[in-house]
Each structure stands twice: as C-alpha cells, then as structure tokens.
C-alpha cells in the first residue's frame, strides 16, 4: 500500500497530465455530437453577446460589400419573380415553395480556415430555430444548425470536411454529393459522378430534392475544374462556391413545415 502511494506521489505530474488530456479529448468527442446543448460553446449568452458586439464594429467596414450583395440578390429575385409570373399567367394559386418559411438572422462569428468550421448566428430557439434546420445565405447554401441556444445558434458550415450535401447538377444529374476538402474556403468537390455523364465547366450545382433540410434548387456552386483520369470511374470535379464565406453577414434559417412529418416517417422506416 505504502509503495503504491509512493508510486502515485512520484508520478503525480504525469497522472494529472493523463487526466487533463483525457478530459480534453472527452470534450473533443462531445463537441462533434449534434443537438446536444452544452454550456461550453458560442450559443452561451456571454460568449454570444461578446462576439456580437465585436462583430457590430466589424460590420461597418463591410457595409458596402453587403449592400452590393443585397442589391444583386434583389435584382435576381425580381427577375425570377417576373419569370414566374409570366409562367403562371394570372393564376397564382400554384405555390411550390409554400411549405418553407425563413427566419432572418445575422452572423456574429464565422471561421473558414479550420477543418470543421462553424458559424454563430444571432437567432435561437426563441426565434424558432431548431437543430437540424438548413441555413442559406444571399446567394447559396451556408450550412445546417448544430445547436440552438436561446438567442444564438451554432451552424455547421458547408466548409466542414465531415459534412456531405445531397446535390444535383442542373439538367444533367439528379443525385450527387458535395463535400469540402478542407483546403480553400472558395472551393469544394463533387463526389461520385460516373464518367459517362457529359459535363462542362460552368454547370450549376444545386441542392437536390432528396433532403428535408434545404429546399431543392438552391445554388451551391459552379463547376470550375473538371478532370477525368484515364483509370478512374468517377469524375474529379471542383466547384467554386457561390457564397463568399469569408465575407458573409446575413443569412436565413430554413423552416420546413413538413420536417416533423418527414422525420417521423423516416424514424418509422428505420425501426
């Protein structure tokens, strides 16, 4: 017994080291879980409001860019609206997007250079945000809500090497996968496109209809590099993301009114 105590005393520094490292790794693993609201992240009120007030100052410097982005989006939306009106004629009863609604919010913190990037937005469960909802920016998709605090939420960005997005290439392929490779915040990869398709640089990649998170047809990016190695069965595709993640400030959280129903159906099938 005495020698055991002596042993503990002799190696106490190393034992404490092991203990603290285990605690740290426990936190790392804990942090990769979805839906678990823990105290230690930026949905926390103190952390969120500090980041927000710092961001308020930063925002003044990017007002011009934000304005330009918004007016561009306005123009695009107006064009789409007019096209739709023309298509529908006077009969406006067909409303395909009606099961989605949107919650406006502002980004208070954003990182793009890590491997698992997150954003913090200033809307939480008080505004109706729930974990699992999609988030879109002014020109394309941004990510998916990971945790919702009362007034702040964290969002897993598209710029996360572990995130896969169900996508389609407009008019060509109706199911493929988009994933970030961890390198540049401007580009991502499209995976599993068989070589017999006829693709071209400049094709648009959008979200597919096979998910309940994003409405279908939201732009993700434009094909910027297309390589077909001799012996590979899949294309090697790089897309340029339409959102400039280094300079995002306003986003919308997508509220799918059918989500609870879809979720419960999926669960029934799994059981």
């Amino acid at each position: 017994m005495r020698s055991f105590l002596l042993f503990l005393h002799k190696y106490r520094a190393f034992l404490v080291f092991i203990l603290l490292e285990s605690a740290a790794f426990f936190l790392v693993v804990q942090n990769s879980n979805y839906n678990r609201v823990t105290f230690f992240n930026s949905t926390n009120y103190v952390v969120g409001s500090l980041l927000e007030s710092a961001n308020n100052i930063n925002n003044y410097f990017s007002l011009t860019t934000t304005n330009q982005q918004l007016s561009k989006e306005n123009a695009l939306l107006r064009a789409k609206y007019l096209a739709l009106l023309k298509k529908l004629g006077e009969d406006n009863s067909v409303d395909t997007i009606s099961n989605f609604s949107f919650i406006n919010s502002k980004i208070v913190n954003n990182n793009v250079y890590l491997l698992n990037n997150t954003l913090t937005i200033n809307a939480g469960s008080n505004q109706g945000v729930q974990p699992g909802m999609g988030v879109i920016g002014n020109s394309g998709i941004v990510g998916k809500v990971k945790r919702a605090g009362k007034n702040y939420s964290t969002v897993v960005s598209v710029l996360d090497v572990d995130v896969k997005i169900s996508a389609e290439i407009k008019n060509k392929i109706n199911l493929c996968t988009v994933q970030w490779d961890g390198k540049s915040p401007e580009y991502a990869k499209v995976l599993y496109v068989p070589r017999h398709y006829n693709l071209a640089i400049g094709d648009t990649v959008t979200t597919s209809g096979f998910n309940a998170i994003y409405p279908s047809g939201i732009t993700i990016g434009i094909i910027s590099k297309l390589v077909l190695p001799e012996d590979a069965s899949f294309f090697d595709i790089q897309i340029k993301l339409v959102n400039d993640f280094t300079n995002l400030s306003l986003v919308e959280v997508v509220l799918n009114k059918d989500l609870p129903q879809i979720d419960s159906l999926t669960q029934t099938v799994e059981e």
Partner: protein, 172 residues
C-alpha cells in the same frame, strides 16, 4: 488577492480578448494562425508547480475553445505545453540556475535562449493542436504546412509582445 494575481488576471483577459476578437480572424495565406495566448502560458515564472501549470493551461485552453467552437483542441495542446515546459527549463538551465521568482523573458534570459525555448514549445503545441484538429494523420502535408506557417506567425507575435510589454528585469 494580491497585486501579482490581479495583474495576471488582467493579462489573461487581455490575451484572450486579443486572441478571440482579433487574431482568430487574422489568418496568413489560409494556413498561418497566430495563437498569441501561448505567449501568456510561456511567461509564467520558472518555479510554478507543474500541476498548477497544467491547470492554468487547461483553463486557458477551454476559454479559447469556447470562443472558437473547437472544444478540447486548444485545451489538450495547452495542457501538453504546460506539462513539457519544466522539462525544457531543466535542459536549458544556465550557469548558476535561474534567478528566484523570475519569469522567462527575452530581456532577462537573452534573445537566443528565449527564442529556442519559445520555438520548441510553440512547435510542439501547434503540431499537437493541428493533428488533434485533423483527427489523425490524414491530410498530412496540409497539416505540416499549417504547423510550420503558424509556428512562425505565433512566434513573431509572441516575441513582439514580449519586447513591448515585459519589464526590463523580468523579475516581479
């Protein structure tokens, strides 16, 4: 609480604020990060007990992690740094030992002593941090580039802060 502890606390908060509000946004070529809070950990006095040191490392790491949503990553790297620090002191003991109550600063220990000490610890801290962040050894080349660029970025900022803010004598 005596004057020393208050100064330490103020230093702690200013390092954290600068880290999370300013340096977290400054990334060199998309790969070089400056984790200036390492400078805070490096500048504790020589006699600080290893267990207290690791607890300080843990607390500092958790605080930085909370703000960057990278829970555990900075924590584990900081604990490692504080665990290795006394060993480095042992290896680099100058003639006649360390002055009592002193802190390792470039003005007290000389530029070459301090930069060896800081570079080794910053390099180990960053290697550990980026490998834990990547979750292993895939993306190896990319991780290596990040480690090297960030080591030099952090080191430069730490040296500059040391010369700007540490007292001439280094003793307190």
């Amino acid at each position: 609480m005596n004057k020393d502890n208050i100064i330490k606390l103020v230093t702690f908060f200013s390092y954290i604020l600068f880290q999370v509000l300013l340096f977290n946004k400054m990334v060199f070529l998309g790969k070089g990060f400056a984790f200036i809070y390492v400078g805070f950990l490096l500048s504790f006095q020589f006699e600080l007990g290893i267990i207290a040191a690791m607890l300080i490392g843990f607390a500092t790491g958790v605080t930085v992690d909370v703000f960057s949503n990278t829970l555990g990553v900075h924590t584990s790297a900081s604990v490692l740094l504080m665990y290795l620090r006394p060993m480095l002191f042992k290896v680099f003991t100058p003639h006649g030992g360390y002055p009592l109550g002193a802190r390792p600063t470039p003005t007290l220990m000389g530029f070459s002593w301090f930069s060896t000490y800081a570079l080794i610890l910053i390099f180990l801290h960053h290697s550990w941090l980026f490998i834990v962040e990547a979750g292993g050894f895939h993306l190896f080349l990319f991780t290596i580039q990040k480690i090297i660029l960030s080591t030099f970025f952090t080191f430069s900022v730490v040296i500059i802060t040391q010369y700007l803010f540490s007292k001439k004598s280094g003793a307190r």
